[in-house]
């Protein structure tokens, strides 16, 4: 599957140029140059280069050159490759038998002979070093070194496709992306087997040479969005890319915002359905998370499972989630604000409970709240850094022991403990991990403002938050859509999820090439016989 990957890609001219530039910097030449009998000037130059790239590569112990002799013609041929990158089975089972047994004279014949799809005949010596590093095997004949062949025998260490862990769903597909870009693209292609699905490949990073695929549906996705993505990827100057989350940060519209501006997903079904909506997906080699853009704030609170449920249930769950977000950010600051500044707002019956639990606490409400918030953050961080089994113990120790003990010791009030625990619980309902981290953080500015000016302070903090969100864009499109700019049509799949029959139009803010997903009239007809 990985071997066939390059078939998927449409290389662009610019990319090639870039490749060429890179190759120029690296010394490269033909293999076996010392045995070359032709003595023209080019070859002399090549010989020098050849020695250079060979010198470089042979510094590593995993560089191999092997001679073989064809049994029929007695011709000598040489394999040059890097064994740590090459699948030996391919050499043993596919490449060697025909080359040893069958008759061949020229290098061109090899192409027909080898039962391998990715075979390339070339005379471009500059390519060699990079090809070897990409897991190709260089095949040269002893007498004619001007032309040579590459065939792909890349060994990839891949884990098998597992069920999604972060975006787990009870019902629905159970496959998640893996680290191999080929497998990931295969999963997306399988879900959208149309010729309009375009995959464009880029290589980013001077050292990591990470393959990046930009996926969109031609004719649906807005050209401007595609161009924005391409341009931003071209502009990346980082030397090493480890994961797609690097991309989220590198191509974000506002790098100084705590809000993620690209949606990451480990679900091929979610990527496919976003593509069908007219969005662009970015898949990065070595990362089990695809990126989807442009996105909006509401999308971060939609789990893909919402689509597997009846629309009434899905809408209800979305509402719960939205409430949980507001609750999670606001409840601790609200407690601090009310207890510190606005005693009038407390119902009389609650006053007894609040005062009785506050009475023993020696700290002002804000310190008490900070103490617990920091404890919760510590627990989360400790849980995340420790192995799973130890992590569970931490949860119990933290949740039960520290919580109860701090109340008994009179360091915190038990009312606040309930609020903090609830808000931590509520913050876990956010389906996208990146966003739930943001929500964790947002609580703190609100807390400080609540301490200083009470609810007025919270209002000020909220104004700043809203102002920031309104300015934010995702790939140039407004982040707060459909709330601002107001697009009533797009509410059908933002705060609510209306039934599929009313989802006949693609989101308006994406300005898709084809706004209609299906005919609405047909969707409403039901062809029951007994009616």
């Amino acid at each position: 599957m990985v071997r066939d990957m390059s078939i998927f890609f449409r290389r662009r001219r610019r990319q090639k140029e870039q490749d060429d530039k890179e190759q120029k910097k690296q010394p490269s030449s033909k293999g076996n140059a010392e045995k070359d009998k032709d003595k023209n000037k080019d070859d002399e130059k090549a010989n020098k280069h050849a020695e250079e790239w060979e010198k470089e590569l042979s510094k590593s112990t995993d560089y191999q050159k092997k001679d073989y002799i064809n049994r029929k013609t007695g011709k000598k041929f040489i394999f040059t490759f890097i064994p740590t990158l090459v699948e030996e089975k391919v050499l043993d089972n596919n490449a060697l038998p025909p080359l040893l047994e069958e008759e061949f004279l020229k290098i061109i014949d090899v192409k027909k002979l080898l039962p391998i799809a990715d075979v390339e005949v070339s005379s471009d010596t500059k390519k060699i070093a990079q090809k070897l590093l990409d897991g190709y095997v260089l095949l040269t004949l002893e007498e004619d070194t001007r032309e040579f062949a590459f065939f792909s025998a890349k060994k990839t260490v891949v884990r098998s496709v597992t069920s999604p862990e972060i975006e787990f769903s009870v019902i629905g597909p159970k496959e998640a992306f893996v680290e191999s870009i080929g497998d990931n693209l295969n999963m997306v292609r399988t879900r959208l087997p149309v010729k309009e699905l375009i995959i464009e490949e880029y290589t980013v990073g001077k050292l990591s040479r990470t393959k990046v695929a930009v996926i969109y549906i031609d004719g649906i996705t807005n050209k401007e969005i595609i161009n924005t993505v391409k341009q931003r990827i071209d502009d990346i100057v980082k030397d090493e890319i480890a994961d797609s989350s690097y991309f989220t940060q590198l191509i974000a519209d506002n790098g100084n915002s705590p809000f993620p501006q690209l949606l990451d997903s480990e679900r091929p079904d979610r990527v496919a359905s976003s593509l069908a909506e007219g969005k662009v997906a970015i898949i990065v080699d070595g990362s089990p998370h695809a990126l989807i853009g442009p996105t909006s704030l509401t999308e971060f609170f939609n789990a893909f499972e919402d689509y597997f449920l009846n629309w009434i249930l899905a809408t209800f769950i979305r509402m719960i989630r939205l409430f949980a977000v507001v609750f999670s950010i606001m409840i601790t600051p609200l407690y601090v604000a009310v207890v510190t500044h606005h005693y009038e707002l407390i119902p009389k019956d609650l006053l007894v409970t609040l005062v009785a639990s506050r009475r023993v606490v020696p700290f002002p409400p804000v310190l008490e709240a900070l103490f617990l918030e920091v404890t919760i953050e510590l627990l989360r961080e400790a849980g995340a850094r420790l192995p799973t089994k130890v992590g569970q113990t931490i949860g119990i120790v933290g949740g039960i022991v520290i919580g109860t003990a701090s109340v008994e010791a009179g360091l915190t009030s038990n009312v606040l403990l309930i609020f903090i625990a609830l808000s931590a619980l509520a913050s876990f309902t956010t389906p996208v991990y990146q966003m739930s981290n943001t929500i964790r953080l947002l609580r703190f500015p609100f807390l400080f403002m609540a301490e200083i000016w009470g609810i007025l302070g919270m209002t000020i903090a909220f104004s700043f938050l809203i102002a920031h969100l309104l300015r934010l864009t995702s790939l140039g499109l407004p982040y707060m859509e459909p709330v601002f700019p107001l697009r009533l049509h797009d509410f059908k799949d933002a705060l609510f999820r209306l039934p599929f029959s009313s989802q006949s139009k693609r989101p308006t803010f994406l300005r898709t090439g084809d706004s209609s997903r299906f005919s609405k009239d047909k969707a409403k007809k039901k062809k029951d016989i007994d009616e």
């Binding site: 207890v339 510190t340 500044h341 606005h342 005693y343 009038e344 407390i346 009389k348 019956d349 006053l351 007894v352 409970t353 609040l354 005062v355 009785a356 506050r358 009475r359 023993v360 002002p364 409400p365 200083i452 000016w453 009470g454 007025l456 000020i460």
Partner: protein, 358 residues
């Protein structure tokens, strides 16, 4: 860009200056005394104020504590109380304010001025006039939810489901400042150290109490002043006594004649029979009860209206009503005109249900 930066700095300054407002001093709930009730009594020439605060105990029970002080004006009284308190007293959570009848007969607006100037005091504070001393009412012990909560609940549930018309600081001030309408407040009496009773309605002329309406007229009074009544009334007819609980009521005034003014008050009442003397309802007895009740309401309401007329008070807001119907209305002339108004009351009672027992 430069302009935006300057504007932003200015905005930030404004925000920071808000912090200089002393209203944003910290009022942590366990470090303050939350006043829930205030009472004003007369003591010699001076006013005697008492402020009730709840004292919360570690076992989540509460007790009431009373600060008292004497003075001539309310602010002075309040300042004296602060001197006695270990923690500052805040009045933002006030539930009830009680006035001794003697104080109320001399006028209460000077006292209410304290409330008006303090934005933290809500408009839903319940005011009431007390038969006896306000301090005595606060000194009673009415259950474990606190005295203020008891008094508040007492007044509120009688407004919602009883014969007490809706009153609070807001409606009192509205009636007070509205020309051609006079305020009224509930009239409370401490029956025992554990019980307070609503014994009537204090009728104000401007800011002074001039009359106390007896509790058996409260139902009719509520019919006249309130749009909605849930009260209960007793009817006597030939088969015996019956009680009717009203579900809805609607009162309309109509100006039927000018010079001299004639005003027809139309009352529509829908109710249900809650009690009846005698086991069975005879045929047409419901009709009889309806008619009897209509007669009774007509008679009592007319009496009420004429009494108010004699006392030159207008809690129903007849003056206000006539003003809405008259161009270039002259209130000074109305003072004399009011005395010549003839009232007519016509009532329509419908009993919708008689209960499950036939």
């Amino acid at each position: 860009m430069k302009v935006t930066r300057i504007l932003l700095t200015l905005l930030m300054c404004c925000l920071l200056l808000v912090g200089c407002n002393p209203r944003y001093e910290r009022k942590v709930i366990d470090d303050i005394n939350i006043a829930t009730g205030m009472g004003i009594d007369k003591s010699g020439d001076q006013l005697k104020g008492s402020i009730m605060i709840p004292v919360f105990k570690a076992d989540k029970s509460m007790e009431n504590f009373l600060f008292t002080a004497k003075g001539t004006i309310m602010r002075d009284v309040a300042a004296q109380m602060q001197q006695k308190a270990s923690q500052p007293i805040f009045s933002g959570s006030m539930d009830v304010a009680l006035f001794e009848e003697v104080v109320a007969r001399e006028g209460i607006v000077q006292v209410l001025d304290v409330f008006l100037r303090d934005p933290s005091v809500g408009a839903r504070v319940h005011l009431a006039v007390v038969d006896g001393k306000a301090q005595e009412i606060f000194e009673g012990n009415y259950g474990d939810r606190g005295n203020a909560q008891y008094l508040k609940d007492l007044i509120e549930h009688n407004m919602e489901g009883g014969n007490l018309p809706l009153t609070n600081l807001h409606s009192f001030l509205f009636n007070f400042y509205q020309q051609g309408k006079d305020p009224y407040l509930p009239y409370l009496k401490q029956e025992s150290p554990e019980l307070v009773n609503i014994t009537g309605i204090a009728i104000f002329k401007d800011e002074k109490v001039i009359d106390i309406l007896h509790e058996n007229k409260m139902f009719y009074f509520k019919l006249l002043v309130d749009k909605f009544s849930m009260g209960q009334v007793k009817v006597k007819e030939e088969h015996g006594e019956a009680t009717v609980k009203s579900i809805t009521s609607d009162t309309n005034m109509k100006l039927t004649k000018r010079k001299p003014y004639e005003i027809t008050v139309q009352i529509k009442l829908k109710g249900l029979l809650t009690e009846h003397e005698g086991t069975r309802l005879e045929k047409n007895e419901v009709k009889d009860i309806e008619k009897e009740l209509e007669k009774q309401i007509n008679k009592t309401c007319l009496k009420l209206l004429e009494d108010f007329q004699k006392q030159k008070v207008d809690p129903i807001g007849v003056g206000h009503f006539v003003k809405t119907k008259t161009r270039n209305f002259n209130f000074e002339k109305w003072q004399t005109d009011y005395q010549d108004v003839t009232f007519k009351v016509s009532t329509n009672v419908r009993i919708l249900e008689v209960g499950v027992v036939e």
